[in-house]
Amino acid sequence: MTREPVTNEPLVVRREIEIDAPLERVWPYIGTAAGYARWSCPPAAEHDVVLEPKVGGRFEDRMVVGGREYYSVGEVVAYEPLRRIAVAERSGATDPTGAQHASTFTITLTDLGGRTRVTVEHRGFESLPTARRRDAFNSFDRGWADAIEMLKALAEEGH
């Protein structure tokens, strides 16, 4: 008799990078709309971000990538300057039955004494239909991996 392995582990994107710049220099890229917009998607894009810097604040992210427009909305659910931000994003239907997808990303800064560790976690893939879950996870995982490299480059060069 064979049994299919059952995974109860939630799918969570977790990406980290260490930046050669102090907390004060990195935080504006996390906690301000203009800063966040500069690294969170490919640089060739048009990119507009709304980020109200408080719990309950509005979050919007509009970008043009590869000639196509992308858009998401959400709410800031954690806002601790120099330390952490979390955004709960709402999405529309991702399958014909209209299932809603809600996901949350959290960006945390850790002081390494003049250097900074940035940790991104993105969770909520369970609200997607099983067939789409792994693809979505991989897509977000790769996206954040690219983005934090860009963040490191920007923060270290002091743009």
Binding site: P42, V65, G66, Y71, S72, G92, T94, S139, E149
Partner: protein
């Protein structure tokens, strides 16, 4: 994943403009580039070219005392295509639908206010 020096190279808007220029009009010398960009000094151009060269995004060729720079688009393609292709794979469907949902919400709220 591309090397970090690639991200460093493309993180600067001036360097991206230099790469565009080399793509459209290259190979060029540092002086040619500085000339076309009025506000950027010759030493600044040289610094950008050094960073691009370290990331293998430009190739350098010497002719006598002149250094000519040409774009090497391959590492760039790897970053952009990978990053952009990633978006198109999943996000487009999810987010295009979301946009319609949000716009529809807005429209209904507006109509409700106008009643």
């Amino acid at each position: 994943m591309p090397r970090h020096s690639t991200y460093r190279a493309i993180s600067d808007p001036t360097r991206r403009r230099i790469m565009d220029l080399l793509r459209d009009a290259g190979p060029l010398r540092a002086g040619d580039i500085a000339e076309r960009f009025g506000q950027i000094s010759r030493p600044a151009v040289s610094k950008h070219l050094r960073i691009l060269h370290a990331a293998k995004l430009v190739r350098e060729r010497r002719e006598g005392r002149e250094h000519w720079y040409a774009l090497n688009a391959e590492p760039l393609r790897a970053v952009y295509q990978g990053w952009i292709r990633n978006y198109e794979a999943f996000w487009s469907e999810r987010l295009q639908t979301l946009k319609r949902v949000v716009e529809e919400d807005e429209r209904r709220r507006k109509e409700a206010r106008e009643k």
